[in-house]
C-alpha cells in the first residue's frame, strides 16, 4: 500500500516538476535571447560611440586615410560585417565589409564635434569660451546575428540538459525525502498498529520527531499506554495490594469486609473466606468498638489515623497504627472505607525500651550529687536536677523552659556569660572557680561550675553546667589554713619566745639596775633633804655632810650619771625589739580576707624572716635582695606568708643538714638569699639556700602530698604541697632549681594583678 501512495505521489510530483521546468526553461530561453540581443545593442552603441570619438578629428580635418583605418578596424570586430562613414552630405568617406547576407542588424551613429564660438588667443590660454556641438558625419554598421543565434542554440542545449538533470535530481531527492519524512514514519505507525492489534500493548512507536507525524506517534503511544494501563490495572492493583507489608482491609459502606490482603491475613491468622463479608469491628477488641474514631469514621469523617489493636484469630491483641480513609463515588456518596494498618509491635517495644532508658537516665542524673543544669542554644533551661533545686531553692517544674539568664539566682552572671562565650568560641569546657552566689537563706555561698558545650554549630551550641557548692569546703579550707598558720606559729613559738627572751632580759637587767640605783639615790636624796633642813635651821652637822660625802663617793655618782642613760636606752631597745617581733607575728598571723588584697611583698617577706629568725639564725645568714620597684601585689597575704615561711624553714633545714652546728650555738653558717623582682606582669620571689640540693630521684615528688625527707616529727610532708596549692589559687607558679651539694632555689611567680586579671 505504501508503495502505491509513494508511486502516485512520485508521478504527480515528476509531472509538476517537468511542467514547471519546461515553463521555466522556455521563459529562461526567451529572457536569455532578449538579454543577448540587448547586450549586442549596447555593445554596438558603445562601439559606435567609441568610433565616433575616434573618428571625430579625422572627419573634422578630412583625414580620409585615418578614417579608412578606423573603419577597417571596426569591421575587424567579430560580429560587424560592414562599416561606412559618411559626411554631412551623405557621401561615403570610407567603408569596409559587405552589406549582403541574411540575418543582419543595422546600427547608425552620429559623429559629433565640439566647436568654440569666436575663439581667440585669450581663451586658448585661459580656457572657457562658448562651445556648441556640431554633427559632422554618420557611421553605419551592419552586424551579423549568426553569433547570437549560435550562442542561443548553445543555451537551449544547456537548458535542456539542465532540465533533464534537474528532473532526475528533484525526483530522487523528492522520493528520498518523501520516504524519510512521510512514507517511512507512516510505515512505522502502520507496523505499530499491527503489533498492537496483534495484542502487543507494550509496544511503543519510536518517536524522534516533533512534526505532525511525531505528534501523531506520541498520541498513539499515549493511547496505547492508557489502553494498556486500563487493561492491566486490576492485576497491577492486585499485585500492589498483595505485595504490601501493611495490612489492607477494604470495607463496604456497611462496614463489611470486602477485601483483605495477604499481609492482613498472615498477621491475624485468618484465611480470606473467614473474613470476607464479616463486620470489620469484629477485628477490634471489645473496648475499642465504641471508641471515638470508629464513630467518627462511621459518621462520615473522611480520614483518620489512630493507634488501636486488632484481635488475631488466636485472641492476641496486636497493636496497630490504623489509617482509615473513605471511598467516595462520583456523586460524593460513601461507597466504602479502606483500612491500612501497620503492625507496630516492634515500635511499641522500642518505645518501651526508650522509656526505660529515659527513666534510667533520669535516675542516673538524679543520683549525681553535683549541680547539673542543661541550657539550650536559645538560653532556655532543659534540665535542672535535684541538687540544683536544693542549692538554689528553685524547683525544676518552676524553672524548666525558662531563660537560664533570668532564673532569679543572684550570681556573678558577668563571669558566667564570659565563660559561656569562651566555651562557645573554643568548644572546650570552661571551669569557673569560686563563683559567689546568694544562697536561699540569704547568705553568701561559693560555687564551682564547669561549662561544657554540646550541640552542633556555634550558634546552635547548648551548655551543660556541672557544678558544686563548695561553700562548706571553702570555710573548712579557711579554717584549716588558719589552723595551719596557728600551728606554724606554735611551731615557731619556742623560737619566737627565745627571740623575745633576749631583749626582755635586757629590759629586766637594766630595769633592775635602774631600781637599785634609784633606791640608793633615794637614800642619798633623803640625806640631802636633811642637810638642806639643817642649812636652813643653821644647825649644820658636819657628820651628815661627811656621811653624804661618803655615800656619794660610795655610790659613784659620776658612774651612775653615765650608766643610767645607757641602761634606759638598752631597756628601750629591748622593748622595741619585742615590739617588732610582736608586730611581725601579728602581721603573719593575721587571718586575712576572703578577697585578694594589695600587699607589699617585700615587707611581708621581711615579716616572715623576723618570725622565723630562730629557725635559721643559727645555721644561716639571711640576705635579702629586694626590688624596691616591686609594686603592690594582689594576693591572699596569709597564704603567701605561709609559702615564704615554708620555703625559709625548708632552706634552713637544708643548710642545717650540711653545716651540722650544735643546738643553740653558732658555728659555720650557710646563706639564705631571698630575692624579689618584677618580671613583667609577675612578681618573682626566689628563696635560695646553700644546702645540699635535692637528689635527682626525688625531684619529681617534692610537691606530692605527704612526701618528706625529714625525720618523723620534723615535717608533715604538707609544706610544699600547700605552697603548690596556694600558687595555683593565685594562678601563679612554684618551681625550683637545684644542684646537689650546691643548694636549691625555689622560685615563685605571682601575677601582680591577682588571679582574676591573670585569668582574663
Amino acid at each position: 500500500m505504501m508503495g502505491g501512495i509513494q508511486k502516485r505521489i512520485n508521478l504527480v510530483s515528476i509531472g509538476v516538476v517537468l511542467a514547471s521546468t519546461l515553463f521555466l526553461g522556455a521563459y529562461f530561453i526567451r529572457q536569455e535571447t532578449a538579454a543577448l540581443s540587448d547586450e549586442l545593442d549596447k555593445r554596438m552603441v558603445v562601439l559606435l560611440n567609441g568610433m565616433a570619438t575616434s573618428i571625430e578629428y579625422p572627419v573634422l580635418v578630412g583625414d580620409l586615410e585615418r578614417i579608412g583605418e578606423l573603419v577597417e578596424g571596426i569591421v575587424a570586430q567579430g560580429d560587424v560585417v560592414y562599416c561606412c562613414t559618411k559626411d554631412l552630405r551623405g557621401e561615403c568617406l570610407a567603408e569596409s565589409g559587405s552589406q549582403t547576407g541574411a540575418d543582419v542588424r543595422f546600427y547608425e551613429g552620429s559623429v559629433i564635434t565640439t566647436r568654440v564660438l569666436e575663439p581667440d588667443s585669450d581663451e586658448m590660454i585661459l580656457g572657457g569660451g562658448v562651445a556648441v556641438e556640431d554633427t559632422i558625419g554618420t557611421i553605419h554598421l551592419s552586424v551579423s546575428l549568426a553569433g547570437l543565434n549560435q550562442k542561443m542554440d548553445g543555451n537551449k542545449r544547456t537548458v535542456a540538459v539542465v532540465i533533464v538533470i534537474t528532473i532526475l535530481l528533484a525526483s530522487a531527492i523528492w522520493a528520498f525525502m518523501l520516504r524519510l519524512t512521510l512514507v517511512g514514519p507512516i510505515a512505522i505507525l502502520v507496523k505499530g498498529i499491527e503489533r498492537i492489534a496483534g495484542g502487543d500493548l507494550g509496544y511503543q512507536v519510536p518517536v524522534e520527531r516533533d512534526d505532525e507525524i511525531g505528534r501523531l506517534a506520541t498520541s498513539f503511544n499515549r493511547m496505547t499506554v492508557e489502553l494498556s494501563s486500563s487493561l492491566v490495572s486490576k492485576q497491577y492493583v492486585d499485585n500492589i495490594l498483595q505485595s504490601m507489608t501493611d495490612s489492607l482491609i477494604v470495607l463496604d459502606s456497611e462496614g463489611m469486609i470486602k477485601r483483605v490482603n495477604r499481609a492482613a491475613l498472615e498477621l491475624l491468622g485468618y484465611a480470606e473466606p473467614g473474613l470476607i463479608n464479616q463486620a470489620a469491628v469484629s477485628l477490634l477488641p471489645s473496648e475499642e468498638r465504641e471508641c471515638g474514631w470508629l464513630i467518627g469514621c462511621s459518621q462520615g469523617k473522611k480520614a483518620c489515623n489512630v493507634e488501636t489493636y486488632f484481635m488475631s484469630k488466636s485472641g492476641v491483641k496486636v497493636p496497630m497504627l490504623l489509617s482509615c480513609s473513605m471511598l467516595q463515588g462520583d456523586d460524593g456518596a460513601i461507597e466504602g472505607r479502606v483500612w491500612v494498618a501497620q503492625d507496630i509491635r516492634e515500635r511499641k517495644k522500642a518505645e518501651r525500651a526508650l522509656r526505660d532508658q529515659n527513666a534510667r537516665t533520669e535516675q542516673l542524673l538524679a543520683s549525681i550529687p553535683s549541680l547539673l543544669m542543661a541550657v539550650g542554644a536559645d538560653g532556655r533551661l532543659l534540665h535542672w536536677n535535684t541538687p540544683s533545686e536544693r542549692t538554689f531553692g528553685i524547683r525544676a517544674q518552676d524553672i524548666m523552659g525558662a531563660s537560664f539568664w533570668k532564673c532569679g539566682i543572684e550570681l556573678n552572671w558577668e563571669r558566667i556569660k564570659e565563660a559561656v562565650e569562651r566555651c562557645r568560641e573554643s568548644r572546650d569546657p570552661v571551669q569557673l572557680d569560686d563563683l559567689t552566689y546568694v544562697r536561699p537563706n540569704g547568705k553568701s555561698g561559693v560555687l564551682t561550675l564547669t561549662i561544657n558545650p554540646y550541640g552542633g554549630r556555634k550558634e546552635q551550641t547548648g551548655f551543660l553546667l556541672l557544678g558544686e557548692d563548695i561553700t562548706e569546703r571553702r570555710i573548712l579550707e579557711h579554717q584549716l589554713s588558719q589552723a595551719q598558720k596557728l600551728e606554724s606559729i606554735g611551731q615557731l613559738a619556742a623560737g619566737i619566745a627565745h627571740e623575745i627572751n633576749t631583749p626582755i632580759q635586757y629590759v629586766g637587767d637594766n630595769v633592775q639596775f635602774l631600781g637599785q640605783a634609784f633606791e640608793e639615790l633615794c637614800v642619798l636624796l633623803c640625806k640631802h633633804e636633811r642637810l638642806l633642813q639643817q642649812v636652813k635651821g643653821e644647825g649644820l652637822e658636819q657628820e651628815l655632810v661627811a656621811e653624804i660625802d661618803s655615800e656619794a663617793e660610795e655610790l659613784d655618782i659620776e658612774g651612775l650619771r653615765e650608766e643610767i642613760p645607757s641602761a634606759i636606752d638598752a631597756a628601750q631597745e629591748g622593748a622595741n625589739r619585742v615590739a617588732q617581733i610582736v608586730a611581725a607575728m601579728k602581721a603573719y598571723s593575721h587571718p586575712g580576707t576572703e578577697e585578694m588584697t594589695a600587699c607589699d611583698m617585700n615587707q611581708a617577706i621581711e615579716n616572715v624572716t623576723v618570725v622565723s629568725r630562730n629557725e635559721w639564725k643559727y645555721v644561716a645568714d639571711m640576705v635579702m635582695n629586694f626590688d624596691p620597684s616591686l609594686c603592690l601585689v594582689n594576693c591572699f597575704l596569709g597564704e603567701i606568708n605561709q609559702v615564704i615561711l615554708n620555703l625559709i624553714v625548708n632552706a634552713a633545714h637544708a643548710i642545717k643538714d650540711v653545716v651540722e652546728v650544735e643546738e643553740g650555738k653558732e658555728g659555720p653558717k650557710g646563706t639564705i638569699t631571698i630575692t624579689t623582682r618584677r618580671d613583667g606582669e609577675f612578681a618573682e620571689i626566689r628563696v635560695c639556700d646553700t644546702g645540699g640540693g635535692i637528689p635527682e630521684e626525688i625531684r619529681g615528688k617534692v610537691f606530692d602530698p605527704f612526701f618528706t625527707t625529714k625525720e618523723v616529727g620534723q615535717g608533715t610532708g604538707q609544706g610544699l604541697t600547700l605552697c603548690h596549692s596556694a600558687m595555683e589559687k593565685h594562678a601563679g607558679t612554684i618551681t625550683f632549681e637545684t644542684r646537689e651539694n650546691e643548694g636549691t632555689t625555689f622560685i615563685i611567680r605571682i601575677p601582680l594583678e591577682g588571679r582574676k586579671a591573670q585569668a582574663a
Binding site: E56, Y57, P58, L60, V61, G62, D63, R66, T113, T114, R115, V116, P119, D120, S121, D122, E123, M124, I125, L126, G127, G128
Partner: protein
C-alpha cells in the same frame, strides 16, 4: 610778450584734462570680457595697488558678456572717466577702435604692440617665446630641434623666434598652414624631424580638438610640447609658463597711477608680464625620459601627475 607767453602756458596747462593730476580722486571705467577668474584676480591686484596709493576710485564696471559693446562705449563716453582699464584682448581692441579721447590701460591682452597708441598702453599676457625656449633648454638640455606650426597671422613673430632659437643653440622647424584642417598633415610632416614643439597662441589653427591631437601625437612620438598655460600642462604638455594674473593687475595699476599723476600713456611702452610661473607634468616627463625631474618639480609652482 614774456608775460603773454607765461599766461598762455598756464592756460594750456589748466586746459588739459584733469586726469587726477596730483589729486586723490579719479573716475575709472573697467571693462571685463567675461567673468573668468583670471580677470577677477587681475582686477583684485589692480585694486590693491591703487588702494595702497591712497587714491580714491569711482569705478564703473562693464562686462562684454552682459552688455552690448555699443552700450558700454556710450556709457563711457557719457561718464567721461579719467581712465579706462580693459582686461583681456577683446575689450582692449574695442577701446583701441572706439575710444580715441580717453586714456586706456589694457591688461592681459595679446599683441600689445598692435594695441599701444597715444592714449593707450598697458600690460600684455604674452610670455616671450624666448623665455619659453630658454626654459626648454634648461629643462631638456638635449633638445635640438623645435617644431612650430603657425598661421599667417604669426608670420611676423617667426623671425624673432628663429633668432631666439639660434641664440639657444636650437634649430627651428616651422611649418605654416592656412587652417586647422592642415594641422594633422603638417604635424606628420615634421614628426621625426623635431624633438620638441612650441605651441603659439594662434586661435586660427589651434582648437581644443587639434591641441588634443597634437598632444596625443607628442606622447606617441615622444617630443615634448611647450604649452600655453597650466591647462596644456595638465592635458599632456611637458611644461608651460603662466602669468601671475594678480601681478598683471598690479603691473597695470602702477602704469595707471603714473597716467593719473600726469604722465602721457603714449610715452609709456607696453610691458610684458614680469612674473612667470612654471607648471610641470611628471607623467609626460617620465614618458619623455626627462632626467632632472626632482629639481624641476621643486622649481614648478604646479606639478601634475605627482
Amino acid at each position: 610778450m614774456r608775460w603773454f607767453v607765461i599766461l598762455l602756458l598756464l592756460a594750456v596747462a589748466l586746459g588739459q584734462p584733469a586726469r587726477c593730476a596730483g589729486s586723490e580722486h579719479a573716475k575709472l571705467a573697467v571693462v571685463f570680457p567675461s567673468q573668468a577668474n583670471a580677470y577677477q584676480e587681475a582686477w583684485s591686484g589692480f585694486q590693491s595697488v591703487v588702494g595702497q596709493a591712497a587714491v580714491s576710485l569711482e569705478v564703473m564696471r562693464f562686462n562684454l558678456k552682459e552688455e552690448p559693446s555699443g552700450q558700454i562705449l556710450g556709457s563711457i563716453r557719457r561718464e567721461r572717466p579719467d581712465l579706462v582699464l580693459t582686461l583681456g584682448t577683446k575689450p582692449a581692441k574695442l577701446a583701441r577702435d572706439s575710444l580715441g579721447d580717453v586714456a586706456v590701460i589694457f591688461c592681459m591682452a595679446f599683441r600689445a604692440n598692435e594695441l599701444a597708441g597715444p592714449l593707450m598702453t598697458g600690460v600684455s599676457m604674452e610670455i616671450s617665446p624666448a623665455a619659453k625656449l630658454s626654459t626648454l633648454k634648461r629643462l631638456v638640455p638635449e633638445a635640438r630641434k623645435v617644431g612650430v606650426i603657425y598661421s599667417p597671422a604669426l608670420t611676423n613673430q617667426m623671425e624673432d623666434i628663429s633668432r631666439y632659437c639660434g641664440e639657444l643653440g636650437l634649430e627651428l622647424v616651422a611649418v605654416p598652414i592656412e587652417s586647422e584642417s592642415e594641422l594633422p598633415s603638417a604635424l606628420r610632416s615634421i614628426v621625426g624631424r623635431i624633438d620638441s614643439y612650441l605651441i603659439l597662441p594662434d586661435a586660427d589653427i589651434y582648437s581644443p580638438k587639434s591641441v588634443e591631437h597634437l598632444l596625443l601625437q607628442s606622447l606617441r612620438y615622444k617630443f615634448p610640447v611647450i604649452g600655453l598655460s597650466a591647462h596644456y600642462t595638465k592635458a599632456g604638455a611637458l611644461f608651460s609658463l603662466d602669468c601671475d594674473y594678480r601681478d598683471l593687475g598690479r603691473q597695470a595699476a602702477e602704469i595707471a597711477l603714473r597716467v593719473l599723476r600726469g604722465e602721457n600713456p603714449g610715452d609709456l611702452a607696453p610691458e610684458e608680464p614680469r612674473i612667470t610661473e612654471l607648471s610641470f607634468n611628471v607623467v609626460a616627463a617620465e614618458r619623455f625620459g626627462i632626467r632632472n625631474q626632482r629639481q624641476i618639480e621643486d622649481e614648478a609652482r604646479v606639478v601634475f601627475g605627482r
